[in-house]
């Protein structure tokens, strides 16, 4: 980028949206079902009303982190806790994720996602809100610690920026590479625009930069998503990325009604 506008592929947008909604409505680790999220530190007490994480109907358990090794101690003994995979505890599901140096517990209510007490709403597809172009690389990229959409702190890399022909002057947005495990990562933009707070989520939205076969990138605001803090107060909201404010409304992608 500077990018030119590209005709959106409506069916692909519809498919990605429905796939995401299906995940939100059925996955055991769906943010719809999240009830608590907390860094583990050395340990966390779970269960009773005065515990670090009170859980209805769960007797006292202790979650401990020792050199990246997580264990759950309860009346029936101690069991190791797998990373990034769901573990059931009574009527809840626990997921421990994040870096080994700072693991984070997220608690989900079983069946909480299927209650469909949330609605994900999108603006109608706007074909003018899809861009393709180059990534303008940063001269000296640094590592930055930021929160991902799921509220978990990760070490991201400054990947560069994109320049978009929005309004009268081009708008430049920072792009960061967020780790996804293994060799995989995602180029993401966390941006704010003038619809935040009235039509869209106040904290801003995430949108991914998708590589195309010719070495350029596609940015489709129709696929802009809320951070998970929009669905559950269990999640902390990522802080806005400096400078990533579009001085006009982006009426595309996910909406928000409090």
């Amino acid at each position: 980028m500077p990018a030119r506008r590209l005709l959106a592929q409506d069916d692909q947008i519809a498919r990605e949206r429905s796939d995401y909604i299906a995940w939100l409505e059925t996955a055991p680790n769906s943010p719809f079902a999240a009830v608590a999220q907390q860094p583990i530190g050395r340990d966390l007490r779970l269960g009773p009303a005065d515990a670090d994480v009170p859980l209805e109907g769960v007797v006292e358990h202790r979650l401990t982190a020792n050199g990246g090794r997580i264990a759950l101690e309860g009346p029936d003994g101690t069991r190791p806790v797998p990373r990034a995979l769901p573990l059931r505890l009574g009527r809840y599901t626990l997921v421990v994720d994040g870096p080994a140096s700072g693991p984070v517990l997220t608690v989900f209510r079983n069946g909480g996602a299927s209650a469909r007490n949330h609605r994900v709403e999108y603006y109608p597809v706007d074909r003018s809100m899809v861009f393709t172009g180059r990534l303008l690389e940063t001269e000296a990229p640094r590592k930055v610690r930021i929160l991902g959409a799921d509220g978990i702190e990760v070490e991201a890399i400054e990947a560069g920026s994109v320049s978009l022909p929005l309004g009268e002057r081009p708008v430049r947005l920072q792009v960061r590479r967020l780790p996804m495990g293994g060799d995989e990562s995602e180029l993401e933009i966390f941006f704010r625009d003038s619809t935040n707070g009235s039509e869209t989520y106040p904290a801003g939205r995430f949108v991914a930069l998708v590589p195309t076969p010719d070495g350029r990138y596609r940015l489709d605001f129709n696929l802009a998503r809320n951070p998970f803090c929009a669905y559950s107060t269990a999640y902390p909201c990522p802080a806005p990325w400096e400078g990533n404010k579009v001085p006009m409304p982006i009426r595309a992608g996910e909406r928000y009604r409090p």
Partner: protein, 402 residues
């Protein structure tokens, strides 16, 4: 009469329930953001149901299940909690590969049509060992690309400081080449163009991650860090480990079976494809040198951390490779977490890692990663190096005790 005959025909046609058969080979692709990753699927009748395999070139691995319902086919890859679900229309399949993600579903479009990919051998000038440099935001990192022609045309592998990425099946078109590896979880594609003695291209991981690379023909000088220089160790005191075996018994370095023996400690996971490459080699070394004083022990770092589930996986792994030495459940498959359980290793990075202990129980050599059969001559050389190290350690004490 005519009307009745027609009605009968229709009923017969309906009764035959025209659910199309998925049997046979399928030319399949995953549509990544930066290109298509080709692989093959093979489906066969198995009793009343179906079974299938996922293949990269000549290398196939069984799917855990194939289900057909109406015009939809579901391929299950239980090891990785993944599925490929597709709709069958005549001779084509279209759908998605999916597994669980934490920030949304990990979904990649999938297509297939009946038949096999044509075998395309590469030109002689493309074959051999290439020293590659991967360009990432924070700097460059070295890889080696090995290319050769096999029974199914171009094939090869990709090697990093911590081992190889497994077997890649290739295709060639003019000066362009591609190599792919899809095992149900890891999604890797290398695409590139050859210009004289330089290869330029992209390494694709998963749906959207692309890393540009450039490679030059290897001069034979080492391009990667030697596997024995990746991980350091405390060599002054005997190496300590402690974990339960598959029957729940605690095993430590003080177990009598290790006393005065040369010990090869295999840090592995059943989820790690390179570990599967290493297992038969370790079993052969054990059989060859056990009588002369070699012991082995495997420390498994597994996915779930649930003892019952992990023990089952490790038992299956032990039986598959007929491993004659104890396998212990040591922890979960996180490099940092595993490193923390073995504090005498410094800079633990790779599964598998082989730790060679002398008869005094102290670390003599730490070999990070493993070159699998996909690496050809490197694999052969690694076996010779392991044999050499074992021979040396076995004679150390034999010489001293004389």
């Amino acid at each position: 009469m005519r009307a009745a005959g027609l009605a009968l025909l229709t009923a017969a046609a309906l009764a035959r329930a025209p659910s199309p058969s998925p049997a046979g080979p399928w030319r399949a692709v995953l549509d990544l953001a930066g290109g298509t990753l080709p692989f093959r699927m093979e489906v066969q009748r198995a009793g009343a149901g179906w079974r299938g395999a996922l293949c990269n070139g000549t290398l196939c691995q069984p799917l855990s299940g194939v289900r057909v319902a109406g015009d939809s086919v579901i391929f299950e890859i239980a090891d990785y909690a993944a599925t490929i679900a597709a709709a069958m229309r005549g001779d084509s399949l279209a759908g998605f590969y999916r597994n669980v993600g934490n920030r949304g579903p990990r979904t990649i479009p999938f297509r297939a049509s009946r038949g096999r990919w044509p075998s395309t051998p590469g030109a002689a000038r493309l074959m051999g060992r290439w020293d590659a440099t991967f360009f990432q935001e924070l700097g460059t990192s070295p890889r080696v690309i090995e290319l050769r022609n096999g029974r199914a045309g171009l094939e090869g592998t990709l090697i990093s400081n911590s081992g190889d990425y497994g077997h890649f099946a290739g295709a060639v078109k003019g000066d362009s080449f591609s190599l792919s590896h899809f095992d149900g979880s890891f999604v890797y594609l290398i695409t590139g163009v050859q210009r004289g003695d330089t290869l330029r291209g992209l390494f694709h991981a998963g749906l959207r991650t692309q890393t540009p690379f450039e490679a030059v023909r290897s001069t034979g000088a080492p391009h990667l860090k030697a596997p024995t220089e990746v991980t350091g160790a405390d060599t002054t005191t005997p190496f300590r480990f402690s974990a339960r075996d598959l029957d729940g018994r605690l095993v430590t370095e003080r177990d009598p079976r290790f006393e005065g023996k040369v010990v090869l400690l295999d840090v592995f996971g059943t989820w790690c494809p390179t570990c599967h490459d290493a297992a038969p080699v370790l079993a052969a070394l054990y059989r060859r040198y056990h009588a002369r004083g070699l012991e082995m022990v495997g420390l498994a770092y597994e996915v779930t951390g649930d003892t019952a589930i992990d023990a089952k996986q490790v038992r299956r792994y032990r039986d598959k490779f007929q491993l004659p030495f104890p396998l212990l459940l040591a922890g979960i498959n996180d490099v940092e977490a595993a490193g923390a359980t073995l504090p005498q290793l410094h800079g633990f990075t790779s599964f598998p890692t082989s730790v060679f202990l002398g008869r005094d129980g102290k670390v003599r050599l730490v070999h990070a990663g493993f070159y699998g059969p996909a690496t050809g001559p490197q694999h052969e050389r690694l076996i010779r190096e392991f044999e050499g190290e074992i021979e040396k350690l076995l004679t150390e004490r034999e010489a001293r005790s004389r």
